[in-house]
Symmetry: C3
């Protein structure tokens, strides 16, 4: 399922991008017992589409990755548990409501693709939105 | 060895949790030459027990992982060195003294399990406590 | 090529280090299609030399790692793209101009070692400078 446009306004009067190649950076960590209804590549496709739909970013700049966790531990009890934790890094300057909505877009995109295990396994999905300091951010584009 | 209860008060009057599944998230990076006195899984057990003993978190919400670093470099000289670096991510709102104590709990739990190599290898253990923005944090629990 | 000394003043009157083993921590993520002109180990050598040349850090404390991304997605279109994203974590208290220069040192060191693919592939190189909270940072040195 493709993400819908959310219609968040991109404030053209504020230089929220620092030009091509700036961001966002999305990191999705998954414990290896997490069961998806699609491949990790398709999960990233959905997440990127959701982020693009926000109107906040340029298409080539949305950079996402999945990291599978093979050594993990949730709580202290002997229970089958799984988690998916995403960190969305964006340059600072967006309003809190926009940051919140971006996080929810990613959380929804992931949650739609996660299914609980055959047993009573529950999967915690969380998204942390982190602002990167624009004033000290560096970037360069090689080739292309 | 199990971590002892530290008796840090959990302020029930302040909604420090955002409900089930919120946090903490602990990431422990280890250079692959690090020698532990236990398995990485047992290291995570100890770290989670230490975090639970703080009284700050719900048992099922403590989510930890080890990441082994195979490509790393410490300094510029040709010396045998190792490091373990943990990042503890918690929702914002706790006092600095509590954050500091949480970092020390993790640092102690790790340090007890690390041993220097046979030679003069030294191992740097460090813990960075990071606050996640509560107002924009998203989460969802699937199944369970 | 070795990085040159940049001559940034280290303010000896301000305890910018918290003693041995404190930082910096550099994480370089590379999509696995990124083509370097050297090995990842040599890339880390160059980055560490650049950081040391700043005069801001002690030699043994510069801790760097490469993380190769095997599951990644850039944008939503079907185009050959690559990215390298570095996160430089330093203890707080340095001026913005110093932080910016540290990020640029790393960005330059990386960019010199990245080459575009045989086709029209472009590679986005970016560096995010993150301050770690000094007041709650924990560390310990084992052996040595």
């Amino acid at each position: 399922m493709r993400a819908r446009r959310t219609g968040m306004p991109y404030d053209a009067g504020f230089p929220l991008s620092t030009g091509p190649g700036s961001m966002p950076h999305l990191v999705i960590e998954l414990t290896e017992n997490t069961r998806l209804t699609c491949s990790q590549e398709e999960l990233l496709d959905e997440a990127n589409a959701a982020l693009l739909s926000s109107g906040q970013f340029q298409e080539p700049d949305i950079k996402s990755r999945c990291v599978t966790l093979s050594t993990y531990r949730q709580g202290t009890e002997n229970v089958d548990r799984a988690f998916v934790h995403a960190t969305l890094q964006i340059l600072d300057g967006r309003e809190q409501a926009v940051r919140k909505e971006l996080g929810q877009l990613v959380c929804n995109a992931i949650s739609e693709m996660v299914r609980p295990g055959a047993s009573a396994q529950s999967v915690q999905v969380s998204v942390n939105v982190v602002e990167m300091e624009r004033a000290t951010y560096s970037k360069q584009i090689i080739g292309g």
